[in-house]
Amino acid sequence: MQLLAFMTAFATPLFLAALLIWPQARALVWRVMPFAPLPALVLAMLANLPLEAQAEWLILGLHFGLDEVSRLFIVFTALLWCAAGTAARHWMRDDARAASFGVLFAMAQAGNLGLLLAQDALSFYAFFALMSFASYGLVLHMRDAKAQSAARLYIGFVVLGELALFAGLALAASQAGSFLLADLRAAAPSGMAVALLIIGFGVKLGIMPLHFWLPPAHGAAPVPASAVLSGAMIKAGLFGMLTVLPLGSVAYADHGTVLMAAGMVTIFAALLLGVQQDNPKVVLGFSSVSQMGIVALGLGAGLMVPAAWAVILPVLVFLAAHHALAKGALFLGTGAYAAQTGSLSRIAVTLALLIPALVLAGLPASSGGFGKEALKTALAAGSPVWLPWLTVALSLSGIATTLLMARYIALIWRNPPKAPAKMAAEAVLLPFISLAAAALALPVIWPVLAQDMAAPISTAEPGALWPVGSAVLLAAGAATFAHAQHIGPSVFLAQLLAPFNALGARVDSVIAAKRRAARRVGHAVPKLLGETARRWRLGQTAIAGLIALILILEFGAGLLAETPAASPTAPPPAQIFTPDF
């Protein structure tokens, strides 16, 4: 029964792939494609843990299992495939090579889900290989020069990675004398094996210097494929390390150091490389690389200090889920953006894209923020020597990611990606919005979903604003600068000052008008007064008036002086003219 459940989980996509060969079924298959990961999802959600099943009959005897970690991986992987499937259905509607895409898509899906369930080295490797090689077709799908070169690079690294992985697994298996992954872990594989495994999985993970394939591939693949490549498949590398390496039990200080250093380099090198790109999807790819650098930090720390692994692991899983959802949303969002034609809807989508982008960048109280803070806390348990650097690196990674995201946003405006011509504009929106919402809601969902493993997350700080904030400012400055460079500095400054100058000119003209009016009045009123005074001979009146006034004032003052208490209520008239200074 359990076996059947496991089989359904990875066989459903395979079955759909097979059905696609038959043209009459294609329409139906495409319609069902979004639901292909459902069995796996259902299994992960409903199963009581731990769950195991064996199929000794199959090949060399295959073991499947589901534990706390793989369950969580399956959940977000399946979700991602669901969303990508939905998108792919519309994306590929009028594509000439839709069938081949569907086949490969389904096969990669099967591989991805399968490796998550595999418990022995052989099946794991098989599913891993299935996923990797099927993806080659996805990358190559467009068949243009860019796709071909990307695919060439991809396949080269895949081959390299598979070789290393195979060698590593083989070494470990021979050392353990068993194919079971649990045995491999328990046997504490040799340094060599661990190194090979790290390289094998590292290729998938895109840790520098093994990352070269990743950005071009992500850029070249169609949007649904990019989403799963970046969101789901590279997590397979992480999952592989978690399952195969004896983390938490044996210390591999050198490996850890190297991995950690590579991770640190990855974080920033990816930034430097990423901001130079012109294709938004490539930029997203570099962002993935950068993010995986963070993951590598955690892994490295785990390798160095096994004792810390217990706290690092849940965080890494969370980060994987976080990245999968956010990055998937971004890729699909790129498609959604490309599908829009009106500028208003593009602005709307851009605004929506800001959600996963900021989540990914680690906006406080988002999954990114929590994840980073949790990782910081977790790493505190690791090597004290590295700790300050790690903390700084993590904080700065927020800046790096934000800058990449800014670059991405800028690029989709400047080099809008292309979408299939006749696609319904809202088709890709639904999966995009769902994933974005999921990414946003992750901090809330996670405690429910992960239960015991959610502890580091739910107790983490919401994170700091300054990395994102400063990076936004930096990006704004850079954008302004770039804009200025683009149109020429003096033109730019003129543009910048134009509103102020316009305001100034406006104020000036208002003042000038007022001044003219005042001048008119200033000319007219004295003239009128002067004329009136002359015509009415007010000067004559003034003579008499003045004498009378002085007489009244002085007599009044004299009278008051004589009778000071005459009228205590009325103020003396003299004071009317002599204010009290």
Binding site: R537, Q540, T541, I543, A544
Partner: protein
């Protein structure tokens, strides 16, 4: 009710009337005349001030002052009238 009181108040009245005339009159000649009335009013004050109850002789100094004032006034009047004549002629020439 002594003469000085009566004529003193008369002087005030004449001065006031002259002042009204000097300020209100439009006609040039009348303005000159009004000013002359003012001067008579002022002279009244001095003459009244000089008056003493009959047995006593009046104070001669104010009398001298008034005589001076009268001569001064006639001079000023003559100049004013000359100006009026001249102005009238100039206006007539301009308008002609």
């Amino acid at each position: 009710m002594t003469p000085d009181l009566i004529y003193g108040l008369t002087g005030m009245a004449v001065f006031g009337i002259g002042l009204v005339g000097a300020l209100c009159a439009q006609d040039r000649l009348r303005r000159v005349l009004a000013l002359k009335l003012c001067s008579v009013g002022a002279a009244f004050v001095l003459v009244v001030g000089a008056w003493r109850e009959p047995p006593g002789a009046p104070d001669p100094v104010p009398h001298a002052l008034v005589i001076t004032g009268i001569v001064v006034m006639v001079s000023a009047t003559a100049v004013a009238l000359a100006l009026i004549r001249r102005l009238q002629t100039l206006e007539a020439e301009d308008d002609a």
